[in-house]
C-alpha cells in the first residue's frame, strides 16, 4: 500500500494517527481529556457500526425472506422484539421468552458438541502411544498422561487433598502452573504483536519507514 496522496485520504491518515496518540496518552501519561475524547468517539462509532451491521443482517436473514413470502419469519421477528421488554420494569418477564430460546439453543448445541473434542478426543490422544521410536517421545507420552490424570484429580472438588490424594493433586497443580506459564508467554506475543502493528503505523505516517 502506497502513502496516500488524496486530500481526504491524507486527512484520514493523520486523524487516525492523532487519535492513536490520544488513546496512548492514557498509559503513557494519565487519564486526561484527550483520552476521553478519543474513547467516546470510539465507543460511539463502534456502536453505530454495530447497529448498522445488525440492522442489515436482520433485513437479510429475516425481513427479506418474510417479504418474499416466508411468513413463518414473523414468529422469530416478534419473539426477538420482545427482548426489548427488558427495558420496561412491569413487562420485564416477557423478555425471558426470547432468552429461553437463546439459552436452550446455546446449551443444547454446547452440551452436545463439547464432549467429543474436549473430553473423548483429549483422552484418546493422551492414551495413544507415540509413533516415534525415540525415548523423548515416550517420556512426553508419560508426561502428558500423568499430567492429565493428576490435574483432573486436582479439580476433584468434593474430596479433600489429603491422604492418597495429597501428592497427585499437588503434582496436578504444578502441571497447571506450567500450562499457565506457557499461556502467559503466548499472551505476550499476542499483545506485543498488536503494539508492533501500531508502532509500524506510527512510523509509516511520519514517513520514517515506507507504507
Amino acid at each position: 500500500m502506497a502513502y496516500p496522496t488524496g486530500t481526504f485520504e491524507l486527512i484520514g491518515l493523520w486523524t487516525g494517527w492523532l487519535l492513536m496518540l490520544m488513546i496512548y496518552s492514557y498509559p503513557l501519561y494519565k487519564e486526561n481529556m484527550v483520552y476521553r475524547f478519543a474513547e467516546h468517539i470510539f465507543i460511539a462509532i463502534f456502536l453505530a457500526i454495530n447497529m448498522v451491521v445488525n440492522f442489515s443482517n436482520v433485513v437479510k436473514i429475516c425481513i427479506t425472506p418474510l417479504l418474499g413470502g416466508d411468513f413463518l419469519m414473523i414468529v422469530p421477528l416478534i419473539i426477538g422484539i420482545l427482548i426489548y421488554t427488558m427495558l420496561i420494569p412491569d413487562y420485564r418477564w416477557i423478555s425471558r421468552y426470547p432468552i429461553a430460546i437463546l439459552v436452550g439453543a446455546g446449551f443444547g448445541l454446547g452440551m452436545r458438541g463439547v464432549i467429543k473434542p474436549s473430553i473423548l478426543d483429549a483422552v484418546v490422544s493422551t492414551i495413544t502411544r507415540p509413533t516415534d521410536v525415540g525415548v523423548m517421545a515416550w517420556i512426553n507420552f508419560l508426561y502428558i498422561a500423568v499430567g492429565l490424570i493428576s490435574s483432573v484429580l486436582y479439580f476433584l472438588l468434593t474430596y479433600e487433598h489429603t491422604g492418597p490424594l495429597k501428592s497427585p493433586t499437588r503434582l496436578g497443580r504444578l502441571f497447571i502452573m506450567i500450562g499457565l506459564g506457557a499461556y502467559f508467554g503466548n499472551t505476550v506475543l499476542f499483545r506485543f504483536t498488536m503494539l508492533t502493528g501500531r508502532a509500524q503505523f506510527f512510523l509509516q505516517v511520519l514517513k520514517i519507514i515506507p507504507m
Binding site: M1, Y24, P27, L28, Y29, F46, I49, N50, V53, N54, N57, K60, I61, T64, P65, L102, A105, G106, L109, G110, R112, G113, V114, K116, P117, D121, A122, V124, S125, G179, A182, Y183, N186, T187, V188, L189, F190, R191, F192, T193, M194, L195, T196, G197, A199, Q200, F202, L203, I208, I209
Partner: protein, 278 residues
C-alpha cells in the same frame, strides 16, 4: 526514600518508564531490520501442507472465516493471506465470511494483500464474500446444515441463488476444508459443530494468546494444522516463500521479547536480594 538501596529502586520504577522504553523498543527495529531466520514448527507445516498438494483438488471449496477485526490484523491477517494464496494456486474455490462488524475492512485488506492471486479469479465463480454473520454457535451449526438460511444473500446483497459457486455450497458436505482465524470463540464453534459433529477438516490460524488452548486440539487431531499468532504467520510466509507483514514484524517481536525477559529477570533479582536482606 533516601534510605532506598538500588534493589528497592529497581522494584519501584515508575510504570511510565516501562511504557516509553517498550514503545521505543518496538519502533527501532523497523528502522534497523535484522531479518533473523525463522524456524518453521510442525503445527504450522501441517497447516500449510493441508492446504496445498494432494489434499486440495481443483474445484474444491474452502471456507475461510475472519473471526478477527482490525485490532488483530497484525496477528491473523498474514496467515490468512498465505493460506488464501496457497488455496487459489491449488485451484480451490473459497467462501469468505466473518463474525466481526468490520469484516468488510478485513476482506478488503486480504484482497489487497493477495492482489495478484485475486486478479486471476472471478467473483461468484472462484470466490464469494458472504459478509458478516452473528448468532453465535447456533449460526455456525445452522451453516453446517443449511447455509442458505444464514446467508440468503452475499455481502453485496446478491441473492445466493444467483451466485454460481453458491449452488455448490449448501452445508458441511460441500466444504473440503475450513480455515478459521479467531480472537474469540468462533473457532470453537466450528470445532464442535463442524469438526466434532461431521469430521470436517478444520485448521485454526489463531492469535498467539489462544495458542496454548488450541494446541491440545491440534495434538488430538481436531485441527489438522495450527498457526500461532504473528510467529505462525511469519512461518507461513517462509513456507510460501513470500516474506510479508509478519516477517517484517519479527524484528520488533525479537527486541520486545528480549526486553520483557530482561525486565522479569531484573525484577526477580531485586526481589530475591531484598528477601534475603529481610
Amino acid at each position: 526514600m533516601s534510605g532506598q538501596n538500588i534493589f528497592d529502586k529497581i522494584q519501584n520504577i515508575d510504570r511510565k518508564v516501562f511504557y516509553w522504553v517498550l514503545f521505543i523498543t518496538l519502533c527501532v527495529p523497523f528502522m534497523m531490520p535484522l531479518a533473523l531466520p525463522i524456524k518453521v514448527v510442525k503445527n504450522t507445516r501441517d497447516l500449510y501442507e493441508g492446504v496445498t498438494g494432494v489434499n486440495i483438488e481443483p474445484g474444491d471449496i474452502a471456507l475461510i472465516n475472519f473471526g478477527y477485526g482490525v485490532s488483530a490484523w497484525s496477528e491473523c491477517a498474514p496467515g490468512i493471506a498465505v493460506c488464501t494464496k496457497a488455496l487459489f494456486r491449488e485451484g480451490a474455490r473459497i467462501v469468505f465470511m466473518g463474525s466481526h462488524y468490520d469484516v468488510e475492512l478485513t476482506y478488503n485488506k486480504l484482497r489487497s494483500d493477495a492482489a495478484a492471486d485475486f486478479a486471476g479469479k472471478t467473483y461468484g465463480v472462484d470466490y464469494v464474500f458472504l459478509g458478516y454473520f452473528t448468532g453465535g454457535e447456533s449460526a455456525i451449526a445452522q451453516l453446517a446444515t443449511d447455509a442458505w438460511t444464514v446467508y440468503p444473500e452475499d455481502h453485496f446483497r446478491t441473492p445466493v441463488s444467483e451466485i454460481q459457486m453458491m449452488n455448490d455450497f449448501h452445508g458441511w458436505e460441500d466444504i473440503a476444508v475450513v480455515l478459521t482465524s479467531d480472537t474469540g470463540d468462533v473457532g470453537s464453534y466450528f470445532l464442535r459443530q463442524w469438526q466434532g459433529s461431521h469430521g470436517t477438516l478444520l485448521a485454526e490460524i489463531g492469535i498467539a494468546m489462544n495458542g496454548s488452548t488450541d494446541y491440545p486440539y491440534y495434538l488430538a487431531g481436531n485441527y489438522f494444522g495450527l498457526s500461532i499468532g504473528s510467529r505462525g504467520g511469519a512461518e507461513l510466509e517462509v513456507l510460501i516463500g513470500e516474506p510479508g507483514e509478519a516477517t517484517t514484524s519479527m524484528d520488533s517481536i525479537n527486541a520486545s521479547h528480549i526486553l520483557i525477559v530482561l525486565a522479569v529477570i531484573m525484577a526477580n533479582v531485586g526481589y530475591l536480594v531484598q528477601r534475603r536482606q529481610a
